[in-house]
């Protein structure tokens, strides 16, 4: 099996190294490779049956080998990335504004790393983590919230006056980034098909996460979990949760080269999503403000 494994590893590495995937996170790259394996299975089966690939191996086994190698290669690249993300916001300097009890940053980091490790164990949670991880990695909160605080419009008002967070733009961005990384945690104990779209499920998920992530500020966990709830029907949803939801979705904005006559990718994404805000359960005013920021910056 070793020669086959080596060839499967070569195919996996080759796919992940494709230039069209440049700029994506390892999980996004893996996602693209999985989409290919699922969507074009017949063509890939014919290719992998070729003499220089995995001849004589049934498609299921060949596919399984390639998947294993894809995952191994992805995990190899993911390790340092996740560690870097956890470390970036691992000081939890926003926690003082959220609760009186001081938090142990080191303990929080350990719990976050453990949670992320568990999320990477199943295909379902890996897929769910892909977009929020990309949003945190590309620092969408950092880029946008800085300007939200500068212009002091809807988002700033919602964060500081309604949610009453006494945080600066950097700390707010840090809070949202941590919420993004924790957001997928609700899927650890959820049955397939339940995405946490109702408050009861969210409450249960929050209680479970609080039990597992004892050191983390509750407000962060709450933002992470409540980000799965639609804004429509939940008007009291925290602004940080709404932001977490829209940034997690915004990471799906197609990263394309500028096209003459078209708006930039992020501006287009915010604009289209704003028109479907109710459908997606997002806060339309928030999306409109983000669209304005992206448009002003040519993003």
């Amino acid at each position: 099996m070793e020669p086959e494994r080596a060839r499967a590893a070569a195919v996996a590495a080759h796919l992940l190294a494709n230039p069209v995937l440049a700029g994506l996170t390892p999980l996004e790259k893996e996602e693209q490779a999985l989409l290919l394996l699922r969507g074009r299975a017949a063509e890939l089966a014919a290719l992998l049956a070729g003499p220089t690939y995995l001849p004589g191996l049934p498609w299921d086994q060949a596919r399984g080998l390639v998947l294993e190698e894809l995952r191994r290669e992805t995990d190899r690249e993911l390790g340092p990335l996740l560690e870097g993300l956890v470390m970036r916001d691992g000081g939890f300097n926003f926690s003082q504004a959220l609760q009186i009890t001081p938090v142990s940053a080191e303990r929080c980091r350990e719990e976050m790393s453990a949670l992320l490790g568990r999320l990477l164990e199943t295909e379902r949670t890996r897929a769910a983590l892909s977009a929020p991880l990309a949003a945190a990695h590309r620092d969408l909160p950092g880029r946008y919230l800085e300007q939200c605080f500068e212009h002091r419009e809807y988002v700033h008002f919602e964060l500081t006056k309604v949610e009453r967070l006494r945080l600066g733009p950097g700390e707010s961005a840090s809070l949202v980034r941590v919420a993004l990384l924790l957001r997928t945690g609700v899927f650890l104990h959820a049955e397939p098909g339940r995405a946490g779209a109702d408050p009861r499920f969210a409450s249960e998920a929050l209680a479970r996460l609080r039990g597992e992530l004892k050191s983390l500020p509750v407000a962060v966990l709450r933002s992470a979990v409540m980000s799965h709830l639609p804004f429509q029907g939940n008007p009291l949803l925290e602004a940080s949760a709404r932001l977490t939801a829209v940034f997690a979705a915004a990471a799906r904005a197609r990263r394309t080269e500028a096209l003459r006559g078209a708006l930039p990718p992020e501006t287009s994404w915010w604009s289209v999503t704003r028109r479907n805000a109710v459908f997606h359960g997002f806060d339309g005013s928030m999306l409109e403000e983000m669209r304005g920021i992206a448009s002003r910056n040519g993003w």
């Binding site: 069209v20 989409l35 003459r260 006559g261 287009s268």
Partner: protein
């Protein structure tokens, strides 16, 4: 587009640019009064360029004949433009000029190429040079960028054709309408007539002498200096092979005068040569002005109009086409405030506000890979990249 075709198109573009430069330099040389040597070299260069365009046209026509699409080439693929910018110029302008340079100016006379009709055709043919830059724009510039390039090239061709027609009318009407050319010709004819009268008067004497007893030679030598001064274009007066008067030494004629720089007039027994370079300078100035107008027109069309057309018509259409054709394409059309009410942008608004959100809703959860099965081939391009 194959590499061979790209190279051929590049060579053709370079030759067209050379031809434009040659035409400009030829006019500049006439205007600035360059010596005969460099001007003859420029004419010779013009001959070879015209020969190239003629051969290129014949080759294209031959290929089109072979593929049974000669009509299509001549009409729809602008073969007529290839013809007009090559064959007439070679046959009527640069070919005879080159023959004159190589075989002597008397050849033109013996072939009756200096008759009024031919000279008029030559003047019209020279105006056809103005169409060459339009050909460069039409055939070789960005054909891939579609509608904007096609519209700009059509306007370039129409504008150049109008300017070429204007230059042709100016050139043809030159000897007939008030202007330097007709005035010079009138003065020269007058000078010739005066000289003829001066030499006839002695001939009428029964003894073959004038009343004062002067021969033609002595009549000439007695011609008032004022008459020569009055017509500075008078270069040489000859009678029976003998030069009666010459404004310059022979070396000056050899150095400064090329075929076509002088006008030959026979007045009785006298042969007169007049300097025509002043009229040629006026013609060159007109031609230069029209060439500058053509180039300016092309610059305006390609630097201002084509990008504007692309921004307001073809680019929005291309964005909408991709939005319709590609499942995951979701970029909105940029709608400028100043043109928002135009048809294209009204359509773009519908695309932005209806189609894209509809696509977004219908694609919820669906996704397609950026990769293709070919990307799994280890020998595919990009192996080891990233």
């Amino acid at each position: 587009m194959t590499r061979r075709f790209t190279v051929a198109a590049g060579i053709l573009a370079a030759v067209i640019l050379l031809a434009v430069a040659q035409a400009v330099l030829e006019d500049v040389s006439a205007l600035a009064g360059w010596p005969a040597g460099p001007r003859q070299l420029l004419r010779l260069a013009g001959f070879f360029l015209d020969l190239f365009f003629t051969i290129e046209f014949l080759a294209r026509l031959g290929l089109a004949f072979g593929e049974r699409r000669a009509g299509r080439y001549l009409v729809r693929e602008r073969g007529w433009l290839d013809f007009l910018t090559g064959v007439p110029l070679l046959v009527l302008v640069s070919g005879p000029a080159a023959a004159g340079l190589m075989l002597g100016p008397t050849l033109l006379h013996s072939l009756a190429l200096d008759t009024l009709g031919v000279l008029t055709a030559v003047r019209v043919a020279r105006a056809l040079r103005l169409l060459r830059p339009a050909r460069l724009a039409a055939g070789l510039l960005p054909t891939a960028s579609g509608m904007a390039a096609r519209h700009a090239s059509l306007l370039a061709l129409l504008g150049s054709a109008v300017l070429a027609l204007g230059l042709a009318v100016l050139a043809v009407s030159g000897p007939r309408r008030p202007g330097l050319e007709s005035e010079l010709a009138r003065r020269q004819d007058l000078s010739a007539e005066h000289l003829r009268q001066a030499t006839i008067r002695p001939a009428r004497s029964p003894a073959g002498r004038s009343p004062t007893g002067m021969s033609a030679m002595s009549a000439m030598s007695a011609m008032p200096e004022a008459m020569v001064q009055a017509d500075p274009s008078l270069l040489v007066v000859r009678e029976g092979g003998a030069t009666l008067y010459s404004r310059h030494p022979d070396a000056v004629y050899e150095r400064e005068f090329a075929p076509g720089d002088y006008r030959y007039v026979q007045a009785g027994d006298l042969e007169l040569f007049f300097d025509t370079r002043a009229a040629a300078r006026e013609t060159a100035a007109q031609s230069l002005l029209f060439q500058a107008l053509v180039l300016l027109l092309l610059l305006v069309l390609y630097l201002l109009y084509a990008p504007h057309f692309a921004r307001t018509v073809s680019d929005p259409l291309e964005v909408m086409r991709r939005g319709l054709a590609e499942e995951s394409f979701n970029l909105e059309v940029r709608v400028p405030e100043t043109h928002g009410g135009e048809e294209v942008f009204r359509l773009a608004r519908e695309y932005n506000e209806r189609l894209l959100p509809l696509k977004d809703r219908s694609r919820q959860g669906a996704s397609e890979s950026l990769l293709s099965p070919q990307d799994a081939r280890l020998d595919a391009p990009g192996a080891g990249e990233g």
